[in-house]
C-alpha cells in the first residue's frame, strides 16, 4: 500500500515537467516580449538589449529552459518582469491566498448544501421535491460563474445595495458574498446531481434491505448506511470541481475586482511576464495533481475494500 502512495506521488513529477515544457515554449513562442508595454513609450533597443541580458532572455531558448527549470526545482521561480521589485514567489504568496480562501469557501458551501439536497431528492424520488431539485440543478449547471456574478452584482449590489459592487475586504465581509455564491453554483448543482444518482443506486442494495428489516429507523438507514457508501463516487467529482473552482476563479475575480491569482494570471499573459505565467501554471498543475491524489487516497478511508489491497 505504501508503495502505491509513493508511486502516486512520484507520478506527479512527469506531469509537472510536461506542464512546464508546454507552458515554457507556448509562452515564448507567443509574439511580443515582456518589455513591449513597460511604460508609456516603447523602450529603446539599447534598454531592451540590456534588460534581455539581465534576465537571460538573450540566451538560446534551450539554455533558458534548463536554467529556469534548475532554479524552479530549488524553489526559485524568478522575478516578475512586469513588476520587477517582486519575485514570482512573492506574487503567489500575496495573491494566491485570496483565490484559495474564495475557492475553499465556495466548495464548503457547495458540499454542505449538495449533500442534504441530493439526499432529499433521492429519498423522495419521483415526487415534486425531487422534480424541483433536479430542475434547479439543471439550471445551476448551465449558468456560468460570470453570468451569476454579473446578475448578483446588479441585483444585490446595485438594486438592493446589500453588498459592494466591486472590491475585496477579506473573506468575512459583505464583499465576499457575490464571488462565493457565483463560484459555488456550478459545483453545488453538479454535486447534488451526483449525490442523488449515487444514493438512488444504493437504495436497492442488499445491505439497505437488511438494515430496514432489522428494524432500523429510516433516518438511521439513510444517514448511517447509505450516505457513507454513496459518498465515494461524489468525492471524485468534488475533487475535480475544487480544481475547477480554483483555476476558473479568474472570471469572478475579474468581474468583482478581487485581487486573486486568477486575475493576475490573465494580466501576466497579456504582459508576456514569462516567469509569472510559468510559475502560476506550475502552481495550478501541482494543485490539480495534489487534489487528485487526495481524492484517490480518500477512497481508502471511505471504502475499506480498497484499503486492503486490490
Amino acid at each position: 500500500m505504501l508503495q502505491f502512495y509513493v508511486r502516486r506521488v512520484i507520478a506527479i513529477v512527469p506531469t509537472l515537467l510536461l506542464v512546464y515544457t508546454m507552458v515554457f515554449f507556448v509562452a515564448h513562442a507567443t509574439p511580443g516580449g515582456p518589455w513591449d508595454m513597460l511604460g508609456e513609450r516603447p523602450v529603446s533597443a539599447q534598454v531592451e538589449a540590456n534588460l534581455n541580458k539581465k534576465y537571460n532572455l538573450d540566451k538560446p531558448l534551450a539554455q533558458q529552459y534548463v536554467t529556469y527549470l534548475a532554479n524552479a526545482v530549488r524553489g526559485d521561480l524568478g522575478p516578475s518582469y512586469r513588476n520587477r521589485s517582486q519575485s514570482v514567489s512573492d506574487i503567489i504568496r500575496q495573491f494566491f491566498p485570496v483565490s484559495l480562501q474564495l475557492g475553499a469557501a465556495a466548495m464548503l458551501v457547495a458540499v454542505l448544501l449538495a449533500l442534504p439536497l441530493g439526499g432529499l431528492a433521492a429519498t423522495h424520488r419521483g415526487t415534486w421535491i425531487d422534480g424541483s431539485i433536479v430542475a434547479i440543478t439543471t439550471a445551476g449547471i448551465s449558468l456560468p460563474s460570470y453570468v451569476v456574478a454579473s446578475v448578483l452584482i446588479v441585483v444585490l449590489g446595485v438594486n438592493i445595495g446589500w453588498v459592494p459592487t466591486i472590491g475585496w475586504d477579506g473573506l468575512f465581509s459583505a464583499s465576499s458574498v457575490v464571488p462565493i455564491i457565483a463560484l459555488a453554483v456550478s459545483p453545488l448543482a453538479a454535486l447534488t446531481r451526483f449525490f442523488r444518482a449515487s444514493m438512488v443506486e444504493e437504495l436497492h442494495r442488499d445491505y439497505v434491505r437488511t438494515a430496514r428489516s432489522k428494524g432500523l429507523r429510516e433516518r438511521a438507514v439513510v444517514m448511517g448506511h447509505m450516505t457513507r457508501n454513496a459518498l465515494i463516487p461524489v468525492t471524485t467529482v468534488a475533487g475535480v470541481y475544487f480544481s475547477y473552482v480554483l483555476v476558473g476563479s479568474f472570471f469572478v475575480e475579474t468581474i468583482a475586482g478581487i485581487p486573486g491569482l486568477g486575475r493576475y494570471f490573465v494580466i501576466s499573459v497579456a504582459a508576456r511576464d514569462y516567469p509569472v505565467i510559468i510559475g502560476t501554471s506550475l502552481l495550478y498543475a501541482l494543485l490539480v495533481a495534489v487534489v487528485n491524489l487526495v481524492v484517490d487516497l480518500s477512497y481508502g478511508v471511505l471504502d475499506p475494500r480498497i484499503r486492503h489491497g486490490n
Binding site: 510536461l18 506542464v19 507556448v26 509574439p31 511580443g32 449547471i141 449558468l143 456560468p144 475579474t254 501554471s281
Partner: protein, 323 residues
C-alpha cells in the same frame, strides 16, 4: 438536430441494419422531447437561437452601426432591446453573437471529436506501448489547468496571426481571415477538450476489440484501419454523440468567458461575452445592457443541456433505469 448529429458522425458506409438503428435513435429522441414540456421549451429556445444566428445579417440594424445620438437607450419600438454605449442595436448584436457562438461551438466540437477519436482509436486498437504512451500523455494533460491552456494557446495564435503570418502559418492566417478572427478561439477550445472523448473512444475500443465479429474480421485478413472504420467506430457513435452534446454548451460557455476577459472574439465583432463585459462596465447606470446577454447565455446553455440530457437518455438505454 439529432438527425444532423447522427448523419454528421456516420462514416458514410451505412449498412441496411445500421440505417434502421439510426432512424430509431432520432425517432426515440424526438419522441422523448415531444413528451416532455420542458424539453419542448428547450428545443424552441435552441430554434430561436438558430434562427437569430441565420437572420443576424438581415435585421434592420447591423451589429456595428453606431448612432451616437441614441446611446444606452432603454428598449423601445425603434430598438426592441435598446442600444448599447455606442448606440448600436442590442438585438442585432445579440443575434450576431448567437452566430459567433454557434460557429465557435461547432468548429471546436469538430476539432474535439477528430482529435479525440483519432487518439482514442489508435490507443485502444494498438494497445501495448502506444496505448501506454498516449494515455500517460492524456493523464498528464488532465492535470493541466485547461482554462490556463486555452488562454495561453489563444493568445499565442492570436499574436501569430496579428504579427502577419508567413510560410507554415499562412493557411492559419487565411483561415483566421475567413472566419473573421474566430480561428484562435475555437482552435484553443478544440485543442484542450478532446481528452474525455479520447478516453471514451479508447474504452469502447478495448471492449469491442475482443468481440467475436472483430476477431472473425481479423481472421479473414482485414487490415487494422478497415476494422476500426467499419466495425469499431460505428459502434462508438452513441458515446460520441453524448460527448458531442456535452462539448457544444461547454464551448459556448468558454467562448463567452474568453471574450468576456478580452482574449476571445475581438471587437467590433460582437460576442455574448463581450456584450456582458461591456454591460458589467456600465451596470450602475444601465443594468439592462448586462441583463440581455446574461439571459442569452444562460437560456441557451440551459436549453442545450436539457436537450443533451434527452439525447443521452435516448442513446443510453441503461441510464433510463436510474432516472
Amino acid at each position: 438536430m439529432a438527425t444532423d448529429l447522427a448523419v454528421g458522425l456516420d462514416p458514410g458506409t451505412a449498412s441496411p441494419s445500421r440505417r434502421k438503428g439510426r432512424r430509431g435513435l432520432a425517432w426515440q429522441f424526438a419522441r422523448r422531447v415531444r413528451r416532455d414540456p420542458i424539453a419542448v421549451t428547450a428545443a424552441a429556445i435552441v430554434i430561436v437561437v438558430l434562427v437569430a444566428a441565420v437572420a443576424a445579417t438581415s435585421l434592420r440594424y447591423s451589429y456595428a452601426e453606431q448612432d451616437l445620438r441614441h446611446r444606452s437607450e432603454q428598449p423601445s419600438r425603434n430598438h426592441l432591446l435598446g442600444t448599447d454605449q455606442l448606440g448600436r442595436d442590442v438585438l442585432a448584436r445579440l443575434a450576431y453573437g448567437a452566430r459567433v457562438s454557434l460557429i465557435v461551438a461547432s468548429a471546436a466540437t469538430t476539432i474535439t471529436l477528430v482529435i479525440g477519436v483519432t487518439v482514442g482509436a489508435t490507443a485502444g486498437y494498438a494497445g501495448g506501448r502506444i496505448d501506454a504512451v498516449l494515455m500517460r500523455f492524456v493523464d498528464a494533460m488532465y492535470a493541466f489547468p485547461d482554462l490556463l491552456f486555452v488562454i495561453l494557446v489563444g493568445s499565442l495564435i492570436r499574436g501569430k496571426v496579428d504579427e502577419g503570418a508567413d510560410g507554415l502559418l499562412r493557411p492559419v492566417a487565411s483561415l483566421d481571415h475567413a472566419t473573421n478572427g474566430l480561428f484562435p478561439v475555437f482552435l484553443a477550445l478544440g485543442l484542450t477538450s478532446w481528452l474525455t472523448t479520447s478516453r471514451l473512444v479508447r474504452a469502447q475500443m478495448l471492449a469491442l476489440k475482443t468481440t467475436e465479429y472483430v476477431q472473425a474480421s481479423k481472421g479473414s485478413g482485414a487490415t487494422g484501419t478497415h476494422i476500426i472504420r467499419r466495425h469499431l467506430l460505428p459502434n462508438t457513435i452513441a458515446p460520441l454523440i453524448v460527448a458531442g452534446t456535452l462539448a457544444i454548451p461547454n464551448a459556448i460557455l468558454l467562448e463567452a468567458g474568453l471574450s468576456f476577459i478580452g482574449l476571445g472574439v475581438q471587437p467590433p465583432m460582437p460576442s455574448w461575452g463581450i456584450m456582458l463585459s461591456d454591460g458589467v462596465a456600465s451596470l450602475r447606470s444601465f443594468p439592462h445592457l448586462m441583463l440581455f446577454p446574461a439571459i442569452a447565455i444562460g437560456l441557451t446553455l440551459l436549453a442545450l443541456n436539457v436537450l443533451g440530457d434527452a439525447l443521452r437518455d435516448a442513446v443510453d438505454p441503461l441510464l433510463q433505469h436510474t432516472r
